[in-house]
Every structure is written in C-alpha cells, then in structure tokens.
C-alpha cells in the first residue's frame, strides 16, 4: 500500500499538504483549523484549483499557458461590466464563450505559426491585461448579489464546483480517447503524429480547456467577492502552474494529474492564509511558495524518474 503510494507522483503534494496543515495548525495554536479560516482556504482553492486543472491540460501537451491569470481577471471584470445590460446568466455565457475563444486563438496561433506557447500566451496575457485597463479605466468594478452570484459564489456550493470540475477532467484526461491522445501528444509529438493523432487539434483543444476553466474561475471569483480591481488575477498563472507542478504534472509533457493539481491549489491557498494568520508579513508568502514549489518538484521528479527507469 505504502509502496504503491510512493510510486504516485501526487505523493509530493500530499506530503507537503500534511506538513503545512500540521505546521500552521500548531503555529496558529489551532486557529488555522477553525471553520472560518478553512472556508477562506477552500474558497481560494476553488478558484485556483479550477485554473490549475485547466493549465494541467496545456502542460500535459508539453505547452505552457501564461494567459490564464489575465483571462481570469478579464472574465470577472467583463461579467461586472455586462451583467446589468444582459442578464447575469447571459453575461456569464458570453464571458465563457469569450474565454473559450481566447484559448482557441492561443492554440491556433501556437500550432499554425509554431511560435512557442510561452511567447504566444505571454502576448495574450499582456494584451488582455491592457484591454482590462482600457475597459474599466483602471477602476474597481462591483457586482450586486443575485441568484446567479449566490449559486456560483457560495461557500457551500463552490467546493462542489471544484470537485465536479476535478471529476470531469480526471475522466477526460485518463478515461477518454482525447485524453490518451493528449498524453501521447505531450509525451512524444512525432510518435503521436505518425500514429495518426491530429496533434494540432488536440493542442488547440487543450488551450481551450485551459482558457475556459480560467474564465469559469473568474466568474466564480466575482460572484464570491462581488468586487474586482484591474489587477484581478495577476500572478495567478504562476500559482496555477506551480500548483500543477507540485501535483505531479510534468513540465516536459506527457504526464499530469488533475487531482494532483487540485491538491497543489489547496496547498498554495493554505500557505497564503496560514502565513497571514500566523502574522508573518505578506512577502513571506512568495518566498515560502518558492521553497515549497522546488521541494515538491524534487520529490515528484524523483518519483517519476523511478517510474521511468526501474521496473
């Protein structure tokens, strides 16, 4: 049992999660484990987790998506701008379609021009952020509570959204022909191509999954917070990639775990809340995140190397 677990690339993040929870539990004299704090931890995890699950698909394809933070912010703010004119439900659909379209553009430009996705998505990250400032004039936007925001932004329902998204995409990645072809494309694109996999289409879809989920997370965030500034979602792309890597997803492609990424997101969210609670200055969060990222990655790589060498 333990030996089998040791072979799972999610082991790094599980270990880190236990340590972080224990550490903060003790350091905050139990306050970290109170309902109120855990609620915030989970609320942040839901949004980051959904983004990280999307990014996982792009990483599995051996690509990268730096635009998710901007898509997340863009979606939240566009919703705030549009929901009165349309209705919240319609505004949300428009936002999701826009999000999906951005992913399509990312993927399409990537596979047609062969410009590396690092550049393409860096470009859309900056472009979208520019558009956000243009549309909002740099001002914070707010949203009135409605049936819609209550469904999408409730403490009780949100973890369910995360579980649902994690479940659906675990199935997509591990139990569908698309998933198998995505893994093959990321693992060895030449082999996948010669075996008849439409690698361009597969990669475009991966970018679309990533952007659509970032968009969904943006909608959840604006529903929960009901305000968002023009900086909403900045640096989230790095947190999401960190969450995925901590969860065992290989940056080199061909392997990824949706559950691992979800746990990676919970880990990052706990770090943020835990450090805040233990009174540490906020800049410690980034330093801590960096350390945990490297440690978890080293653990994962050791596990993966073991899987890839011995039998």
């Amino acid at each position: 049992m333990i030996r089998k677990l040791m072979k799972k690339p999610e082991i790094g993040v599980i270990t880190s999660l236990i340590i972080v929870f224990a550490l903060f539990g003790v350091m905050s004299k139990g306050a970290f484990l109170s309902i109120g704090v855990l609620k915030t931890v989970f609320a942040v995890s839901v949004e980051l987790g959904i983004v990280a699950i999307g990014v996982t698909h792009v990483l599995v394809a051996a690509e990268i998506d730096l635009s998710v933070g901007s898509i997340y912010g863009f979606s939240a703010l566009m919703f705030a701008k549009m929901y009165k004119m349309l209705s919240p439900g319609l505004a949300a659909i428009v936002v999701l379609v826009l999000g999906m379209g951005i992913g399509f553009a990312n993927g399409y430009i990537r596979v047609k021009t062969r410009v590396p996705s690092l550049i393409v998505t860096l470009g859309s990250m900056m472009t979208l952020r520019g558009i956000i400032y243009f549309v909002t004039g740099g001002f914070t936007q707010s949203v009135k509570a409605s049936f819609f925001t209550k469904i999408l932004g409730s403490d009780i329902l949100d973890p369910l959204w995360l579980i649902l998204v994690a479940f659906i995409f675990t199935v997509v990645l591990t139990r569908t022909p698309f998933g198998n072809r995505l893994l093959a494309t990321g693992g060895n694109i030449e082999t996948a191509r010669t075996l008849g996999v439409k690698v361009d289409k597969i990669r475009v879809v991966a970018f679309m999954i990533s952007s659509t989920l970032a968009s969904l997370a943006g909608l959840i965030s604006i529903s929960r917070l009901r305000v968002a500034s023009a900086t909403h979602g900045e640096l989230m792309e790095l947190e999401a990639i960190a969450a995925a890597v901590m969860g065992g997803t290989l940056l080199t492609g061909g392997y990824g775990s949706v559950v691992g990424s979800t746990m990676g997101a919970i880990l990052i969210a706990s770090l943020r809340s835990g450090l805040l609670l233990s009174g540490a200055p906020s800049y410690w969060y980034v330093a801590f995140l960096g350390i945990i990222l490297v440690v978890a990655s080293v653990i994962n790589l050791t596990v993966v190397r073991k899987l890839m060498s011995s039998s």
């Binding site: 569908t176 998933g179 072809r181 191509r193 008849g196």
Partner: protein, 256 residues
C-alpha cells in the same frame, strides 16, 4: 501484371526546399514479399517510406495499391488502407504504459450516449496478448514504456501492425541501437509477419540484417534508385559495394 503487386510507386519526386530527396523513384512491393530498402545516409529511404505512410505527399508521381491509384493525405489514411509503420524509435511514447501506447489514435472505447470512454481493461488484455504473441517477455505489464528495451518497444509496434491486420508493414531502421539478441528478435518478427502473408519493407544501413530476411533488395543513392536485386542473385558484399561506389557491383554473382 500490376495487380500482382501490392504497392507500386512510379516516378516519385520529392523536394524539401532546395533539397531533392527523391528524384523520380520507381518502387514496388509484392504480396507477402520482404523488400530491403538500403542506401547511405540521406539517400532518401525514410522520405520514400514516409510518402507511403502518408506523412509526406509526393510532388510528382503516383502510388498504386492493388493496381488502383491512391493518394494518402495523412498517416491515418495510409493506415486505413492497411499500411502500418514501425518507426526508428519504436513508435512508443515513454510516459505511457503498454496498453495506452498500443492503441494511441485507435483506442478501444465503450459508448455511453454521445460520449466515448476508454475500455482500459480490454486495451490492456488485447495489447499484452499481441505483444506476447510477437514473442516478448515482459517483466512488468503495467510499466511505463520508458522502462522497456528497444526490442520490447518494437514488439509494441509490430504487435500493433498485426493486431490491426496490416497488409504492408514498414520498418525504418528497426535494428538501430539494439543488442545482438534484440536484433535477432526483430528479424524473427519480420519472418513471423511474412508467414502471415503480410508484405514488409525493411529500411536499414545494415545489409547483413536485411539480407537475412529479404526477398529483394533495392538500393537508393542520392535520391535515385540505382539498383534492384533478387537476394538470390547477390552476396551482401555486392550490395555493400553498390552502395559504396554508387553503381551496380556484382563481382560474386551467385549460382543457384
């Protein structure tokens, strides 16, 4: 006459930018025949077989399958016509296990309304059955392909070709980087495929490997076909000299 051949390629020309990779090559394969395709580095061997498997499209020339004209726009189309490639590095993705590798692009699925889900159990059973049939021992059936030896990797590709009932199996440098024992296994694969009535194109630098199993040998040299021998007409040394000097060499004509 033409119907007696499985594949006929006529006047195939292919350029990559300024590089002429194939300059009007005629090439054919009979039913159940093993053809060795040999020649020096850059002669155009891989390009020729990649045209057959739909990876590249020829600039000029035509391809006949059972006497009927075909044009493969993609590997999928070639595969649907029964042409299966076994690649230089085994056509295997390191990060996937055998079952997933075996069925890349042609997964066994169960339908559930409009959705298709992998039938992992069946994929596993079928793939392991085929790999064992090819004659390979596995230490761990669920290991990632990265842990497999060169011979085991080729077994996946060859098992794949047999499972999907290929009519023509193309092996591009299948014996590169293999140990002596593994080379023997691959040569056994080829004999096994031939026994089933399937045709084979065997691309290689190593004349001794292909000489063992081939019925006929075709020599490419700088984008052109310069020689074609029935195996019984030549010795391996003749073939090597032909490649070396770029003209037909048959000092030691063999008497049957």
């Amino acid at each position: 006459m033409e119907k007696e051949k499985l594949i006929i390629m006529k006047g195939i020309r292919k350029k990559f930018g300024a590089v002429v990779a194939l300059d009007g090559v005629d090439f054919d394969v009979g039913h159940g025949e093993v053809v060795g395709l040999v020649g020096d580095n850059g002669a155009g061997k891989s390009t020729l077989v990649k045209i057959l498997t739909g990876v590249y499209q020829p600039d000029e020339g035509e391809i006949l399958l059972d006497g009927k004209k075909v044009a493969f726009e993609s590997p999928t189309e070639a595969r649907n016509a029964g042409i299966e490639a076994v690649h230089q590095y085994g056509g295997v993705v390191d990060t996937l296990d055998i079952a997933r590798n075996f069925f890349i692009g042609r997964e066994i699925v169960r339908k559930w309304g409009p959705f298709k889900f992998l039938d992992l159990k069946k994929m596993r059973e079928e793939s392991l059955k085929m790999v064992k049939k090819v004659g390979i021992q596995l230490r761990s059936e669920d290991a990632l392909a990265a842990t497999l030896s060169g011979g085991q990797r080729q077994a996946i590709s060859i098992g794949r070709a047999m499972y999907f009932k290929a009519r023509l199996v193309i092996l591009d440098e299948p014996t590169n980087h293999l140990s002596i024992k593994e080379v023997d296994t691959v040569l056994d694969f080829v004999r096994e495929i031939k026994k089933q009535g399937t045709s084979v194109i065997f691309v290689t630098h190593n004349i001794y490997h292909v000489y063992d199993v081939a019925d006929r040998l075709v020599v490419l040299d700088r984008a052109k076909k310069i020689a074609e021998f029935m195996k019984t007409e030549v010795t391996p040394e003749d073939v090597i000299d032909t490649i070396r000097y770029g003209t037909v060499s048959r000092k030691s004509l063999r008497k049957e």
